[in-house]
Amino acid sequence: MAETIDAEKVRHIGKLARIELSDREVEMFSRQLGSILEYFDKLQELDTSGVQPMAHPTDIRNIFGDDVPHESLSTDEALANAPQRDGDFFKVPKVIGEGR
């Protein structure tokens, strides 16, 4: 049985994704995500012992580019879709508490 999705969990996921959710949305997503997880429960019934975890859906390996510079966008092009700019920078709401 997969984890159940309750309202609290949906709110937490919303917070992690920096999305504000209304009570109605929390209720709706709990239901929708719940039915997706139920579907995965069905898959869990398969015996996968001895099957290697899949790292990637294709068998393609080792796709590389050479370390040779290509032309980049101009600063104006790069900033064209930004809601706001500050000179040559993207302007965003004040960031606090960074950390990778």
Binding site: D67, S72, L73, T75
Partner: protein, 492 residues
């Protein structure tokens, strides 16, 4: 101060982030270059446009393998990429591409030098590739300005085991790693440019008469200088100890687990950092946009063959084969090319001792002035070898050789040609020296008298006369020869 009744063992692990010196970024071919105008090295991929797809930089993988192999790591035959959730605007696609469960390199070690001349093995848990974030600029109080030039620059994260137990060991490890990545040519490791950042994990294992206890593990992020690292570790050891003394029951890893602190450079100490509970909920999952990587034996061997002799091995060889002191050998193995220059000069028939003296004398002084490596001052191995041989054969004396050495930095001429042009060749013509001796004796009757009279003033007067002759020769006569002829003349 630590009470001698308590036995306190600091336990320290270090994560080091190294920016790799590729021409282009890790997943696109925008330039990887520090100091350019903001947002000039950006493309749809690094500014997080929907639909853009990453293409892995082969060179970044090879550089990472090179470091891993030099650190005696196992290079994975199969490795893949993962997404790490990240919600800050300096990496606008909202995840960082990293490696989670299958890192490229694992289980290695780095030998670090200790003060007593011995070495210590520090184990390396893993070294994996990830992308760097851009830069958030906080100059303005009302908003944040974002430059994405650095977003996507290849970063190698090297994680040690908690094998270090003192500030000295941490610094030895950090400096050895710094030397190694520069040596391998995979990073400029310029601290001012943020090419290398440290994240120490520190706690104390304390046994006192009544109990044994472990303090909470403190992680300090983003230290970008050796000084900050040194001060952080020293400060944390003291701070954790006094906090434990004040509250031996409460201040323990069992009760508090892991904590984050920030480093305040102005205060020179770490400060408490409140973090949101969900900050570490990274929710890794496999990166579907990048193909997995398999590393063949052939590929690995090819990289391995590029590594060559490493700093510690070369230093040991110089002490053994060239009879250099630890300090001399260390100074000649700060970077790779300086040693290659020395070895090439020795291979050309020069004596190692002479070459080392030249390199560590004027060579080191000039390199310091120019803030570069000794190998970069513009003297070739061939020039070095010839000058060393001239010294050895007595064709030039040490003072004149230093002058020639200085001239060599801006010249392709041979040391002999320079010495001739500047009249710096040793005068071996005895007749010429005898003539100078005669002149000096005739011009300084008082000194001659003092020498002949013996007693207190004799040595000084003799030195004076020698100096007079040396001056006439413009330093080109051999002092021993001058003294021999002077003694002969004065009937000593």
């Amino acid at each position: 101060m630590i009470d001698t009744k308590d036995s306190v063992l600091p336990v320290i692990g270090l994560e080091i982030h190294v920016e790799l010196a590729t021409e282009t970024k890790m997943f696109c071919r925008c330039r990887n270059r520090f100091g350019d105008q903001p947002n000039t090295n950006v493309c749809p991929l690094c500014i997080g446009m929907p639909g853009s797809l990453p293409v892995m930089n082969r060179k970044a993988v090879e550089y990472a393998m090179k470091v891993g192999l030099a650190l005696n790591c196992t290079v994975a035959e199969f490795t893949k990429w993962d997404r790490k959730s990240y919600y800050y605007p300096d990496l606008p696609k909202n995840y960082q591409i990293s490696q989670y469960d299958l890192p490229l390199c694992e289980h290695g070690f780095l030998d670090i030098p200790l003060k007593d001349g011995s070495t210590k093995k520090i184990r390396v848990l893993r070294a994996h590739l990830e992308e760097d974030a851009g830069k958030n600029v906080h100059d303005n109080p009302s908003h944040t300005a974002v430059d994405l030039n650095r977003a996507g620059v290849p970063l190698l994260e090297i994680v040690s085991e908690p094998d270090m137990h003192s500030v000295e060991e941490v610094m030895g490890y950090a400096r050895s790693m710094h030397r190694l990545v520069r040596w391998l040519g995979v990073s400029e490791a310029n601290m001012q440019m943020g090419h290398m950042r440290f994240e120490p994990n520190i706690n104390l294992h304390i046994s006192s008469s009544s109990r044994t206890c472990k303090t909470p593990i403190v992680e300090v992020k983003n230290l970008n200088s050796f000084r900050a690292l040194e001060r952080t570790v020293a400060y944390e050891i003291e701070r954790q100890y006094s906090q434990w003394r004040a509250d031996p029951d409460g201040y323990s890893i069992d009760k508090l687990g892991k904590q984050n602190r920030g480093y305040d450079d102005d205060l020179g100490r770490t400060v408490f950092q409140r973090e949101k509970e969900e900050a570490h909920d990274y929710r890794y999952f496999p990166e579907p946009d990048l193909a997995a990587v398999t590393v063949s034996q052939e590929w690995r061997d090819g990289i391995s063959s590029q590594i060559g002799e490493l700093p510690l091995a070369r230093r040991a060889r110089y002490m053994k084969d060239y009879a250099l002191s630890f300090k001399e050998a260390d100074a000649l193995t700060l970077d790779c090319p300086t040693g290659e220059m020395l070895d090439a000069a020795v291979a050309a028939g020069a004596k190692a001792r002479r070459c080392a003296n030249l390199l560590l004398g004027r060579g080191s002084a000039i390199a310091n002035e120019r803030r570069c490596a000794i190998a970069e001052i513009g003297v070739t191995a061939g020039q070095l070898a010839e000058l060393a041989k001239m010294l050895d054969d007595g064709q030039i004396n040490a003072t004149a050789a230093a002058k020639v050495f200085d001239e060599l930095t801006d010249s392709d001429d041979s040391p002999r040609a320079i010495a001739e042009a500047h009249c710096l060749l040793a005068v071996t013509d005895t007749g010429q020296i005898v003539a100078w001796v005669d002149e000096a004796v005739a011009a300084n009757p008082r000194a001659v008298q003092d020498v002949k009279a013996g007693g207190k003033k004799q040595a000084r007067a003799f030195g004076f006369l020698t100096g007079q002759v040396m001056q006439k020769s413009r330093g080109a006569a051999k002092p021993e020869e001058v003294q021999r002829l002077l003694r002969q003349k004065l009937g000593d």
